[in-house]
């Protein structure tokens, strides 16, 4: 039973591959545009072992990790602070919702000007996007925290700051993890898009873009698949941390 549970995530993979194979087999889509899973995995295998894909993958991992880390470090404390006072949050909500709804790619020109063409731009745009999502979730988590526990801490003489730290932070943890998981996925998406559209010589996005330009569909889907798998992996990481630390949710 326990052993079977470890296999659960692979059900999703299997479903994806089955639908994909079926689509190719039934020729719903021209095979030039959608290669078979086998062709894709061959391209992925070759790319990972001998080609550039492995290097690109690591580059993208690096950028994503940096931007998520920056985003988390900024957004979690800020989110708790903002969420702890609904009024303050309402007053900056415009900014958060505004920028959350603006495509990161529309922000590229501005960030390009501020940070140049190097990695800094890509990381900072991604961190910006991820920070907004994390901030939003953390603030929500704090605002929806159970009031009784906050009152209990206050009556025990906890200062505002202590209440923030000891109660609100922990109360909002389940929601914070939702935010982190949304954030890391978004950071990855933005990094990939930035690699596609702002000058880059490496990274999965550049790989996707180049393969797209060359109509090398197996390569393109191999890179996309690598990005998706990376996203799942990063999510899994947060899930594992969450399971370790947030044992009380729903209790």
């Amino acid at each position: 039973m326990k052993r079977l549970q470890g296999l659960l995530p692979f059900v999703g993979v299997a479903v994806l591959l089955a639908v994909w194979s079926l689509t190719v087999w039934a020729r719903v889509v021209d095979p030039v545009l959608l290669p078979s899973p086998i062709a894709t995995f061959r391209a992925m295998w070759i790319g990972m072992t001998s080609g550039k894909l492995g290097v690109d993958f690591l580059k993208t991992v690096e950028r994503t990790v940096y931007s998520t880390a920056i985003a988390a470090v900024i957004a979690i404390p800020l989110g708790i602070l903002l969420g702890s006072s609904e009024k303050v949050y309402r007053s900056v909500e415009f900014l958060i919702d505004f920028f959350r709804s603006t495509p990161a790619s529309a922000m590229f020109p501005l960030f390009l000007v501020l940070f140049g063409v190097g990695d800094r731009t890509k990381i900072s745009v991604a961190a910006f996007g991820a920070a907004l999502v994390i901030l939003f979730n953390v603030a929500y988590g704090v605002m929806n925290a159970r009031k009784t526990r906050i009152l209990a801490a206050r009556v025990m003489g906890a200062s505002r700051l202590r209440v923030l730290w000891d109660v609100m932070l922990l109360e909002s943890l389940p929601q914070t993890f939702v935010g982190l998981r949304n954030g890391v996925s978004l950071a990855l998406v933005i990094v990939v898009v930035a690699e596609m559209f702002i000058g880059s010589t490496d990274g999965l996005g550049q790989r996707v873009f180049e393969a797209q330009q060359l109509f090398d569909m197996p390569d393109m889907y191999a890179a996309i698949f690598a990005a998706g798998a990376l996203g799942y992996g990063l999510n899994l990481l947060f899930l594992t941390i969450e399971r370790r630390f947030v044992h009380w949710s729903g209790k």
């Binding site: 009152l151 009556v155 025990m156 000891d166 009380w248 209790k251």
Partner: protein, 274 residues
């Protein structure tokens, strides 16, 4: 001489002040008004909580007992009126508080032990001392709970016990107990009453106890505040001055029985009114 006079007068004033402080009410409530949507819970309510006394609040469900202590502790805002501590509008008072919904007032991310120690942590007590103090109170109350459990792993009564210990550990200035024994078993209830009395005798902490058990209320209290249905009025403020420590024998004394009967009569009259 001219210099000594003021000094002496100050000394005198200090003494007088101290004396006044001892007899003056600990908490003064004036013109308190509190409304919830359409219900008026308190309407221009005046009351003094005496210093160093154990006071019970007795009243029907929903009359506003929990709301009252929540307002005194500064957890709920008042609509009008003022609540003064030693004549001061507000201060950084150390409260001990057992919530009626003790279950939700626990921190589920802390083990029982750390829940009890939390107020000490807030006060900045170092870790080693926290551990000894928690161990002392646990030993003192003779509690047999696995304190490594998280609150949601404990039974209702165990949670309430933890909650009580958390309130007592700080040696608070004012202690609020909102139906603190409601989930305890027979033996534990009797035991905790004695413990509460012992602590009160030792420290003379101003204590406000909400209880629906009239016997318990009278047995433990110096004063019993009888509240009417809301808008709550102080129907009567009964004094019961039997000497402490009181024992189970106290409950068969005439004074106890008559006080209890008197409270019950007033309570029933008030309840049946509304």
């Amino acid at each position: 001489m001219a210099g000594a006079q003021p000094a002496a007068s100050i000394e005198l004033t200090d003494n007088a002040r101290e004396a006044a402080r001892r007899t003056a009410p600990h908490v003064t409530i004036r013109g308190l008004t509190k409304r919830f949507s359409d219900a008026t819970i308190y309407d221009n309510f005046d009351f003094d909580i005496p210093r160093g006394k154990l006071m019970s609040v007795f009243g029907p469900n929903g009359c506003g007992k929990s709301t009252l202590i929540n307002m005194i502790a500064g957890l709920f805002p008042v609509d009008a009126g003022e609540i003064l501590f030693d004549g001061q509008p507000l201060s950084q008072i150390k409260f001990g508080y057992v919530f009626q919904n003790y279950r939700e007032a626990m921190f589920p991310w802390l083990r029982a032990f750390d829940n009890i120690a939390y107020p000490l942590r807030v006060m900045g007590v170092p870790k080693a001392e926290r551990i000894t103090r928690v161990e002392k109170i646990v030993a003192g109350l003779n509690v047999k709970i696995d304190l490594n459990l998280y609150p949601y792993q404990m039974s209702g009564g165990q949670q309430q016990l933890v909650s009580i210990m958390r309130a007592l550990i700080v040696e608070p200035e004012i202690l609020f107990l909102d139906e603190p024994f409601s989930a305890l078993d027979y033996e534990m209830t009797l035991f905790m009453r004695e413990q509460l009395q012992r602590i009160f005798v030792e420290t003379s902490t101003t204590t406000v106890l909400v209880s629906h058990d009239l016997e318990e209320a009278v047995y433990l209290s110096d004063r019993i505040l009888l509240l009417s249905r809301h808008p709550a009025r102080a129907v009567e403020f009964v004094h019961y001055d039997a000497p402490r420590p009181r024992t189970p024998g106290t409950m068969s004394e005439a004074d106890f029985i008559s006080t209890k009967a008197h409270c019950l009569e007033i309570f029933q009259r008030e309840v049946r009114k509304g």
